[in-house]
């Protein structure tokens, strides 16, 4: 089951400069584990040590922010697309 993952410029150091890569997983969490097995270190930029989605990134499944879907438990199916973007905020 291949799912396309679009990677933002700031994380392309982990994907050898690739804008989009393929990964597998039944849930977003599984997908990120699979992604990390091919692109070591990327998981640490997406998930905190406590195992939650980092607030410094936005992850979208089929253009919906996963914070409004099911966060890391969001189910995935063949043909879904996942997009990662840096979250942007300040004070």
């Amino acid at each position: 089951m291949a799912i396309e993952v679009r990677i933002p410029t700031i994380l392309r150091t982990y994907t050898g400069g690739e804008k989009a890569v393929e990964a597998k997983g039944d849930t977003l969490e599984g997908l990120i584990d699979d992604l990390d097995s091919r692109h070591a270190g990327i998981k640490g930029r997406l998930i905190t040590e406590e195992g939650k989605l980092h607030r410094f990134v936005n992850v979208y499944v089929n253009d919906e922010d996963v914070r409004f879907l099911g966060s890391l438990e969001t189910p995935l199916k063949d043909g879904d697309s996942v997009t990662v973007l840096p979250a942007v905020a300040g004070g």
């Binding site: 933002p8 410029t9 700031i10 804008k19 930029r45 410094f56 990134v57 936005n58 979208y60 253009d63 922010d65 914070r67 997009t83 973007l85 840096p86 979250a87 942007v88 905020a89 300040g90 004070g91």
Partner: protein
């Protein structure tokens, strides 16, 4: 190093900041090569006088528009409505992951426009001369 922006863009940033005051405004300037291309006024999802957050759905649309045009996110701008146009501690923390080469700050605390550009690298803020053409 300087940041060159057309007068129309700087005026638009200031107008956006004045319009949204007392809340902070925010937005993006894309670049093609090393030149400013387009300005995107963003919604501040926090609607707050002390902070800003890009609306995640709007940011996806804007990012994709920029990427599809082979441009890059280049400048993130926002306003401070009660303090100086200098990056706050929160700005410095977010700069590490936001992925913008330049931070443009506007202050609307007085009638006089204050606009300053910075790079923020590993927590170090450096003012960059703003060249308005």
């Amino acid at each position: 190093m300087t940041l060159s922006l057309p007068r129309t863009m700087v005026d638009q940033v200031v107008a956006h900041a004045r319009r949204d005051a007392p809340d902070e405004c925010c937005g993006v300037i894309s670049a093609s090569g090393d030149a400013a291309a387009r300005l995107f006024e963003m919604e501040n999802a926090e609607r707050s006088p002390t902070g800003f957050t890009f609306d995640s759905a709007e940011w996806l649309r804007v990012y994709r528009d920029i990427d599809d045009a082979d441009e890059v996110p280049w400048v993130v701008y926002h306003s401070h409505t009660m303090t100086e146009a200098y990056p706050s501690r929160t700005d410095i923390r977010w700069s590490e992951t936001a992925g913008f080469p330049y931070w443009l700050l506007v202050s609307t605390r007085s009638d006089e426009d204050e606009v300053h550009a910075y790079t923020i690298t590993d927590g170090t803020v450096t003012e960059v001369p703003l060249q308005i053409s």
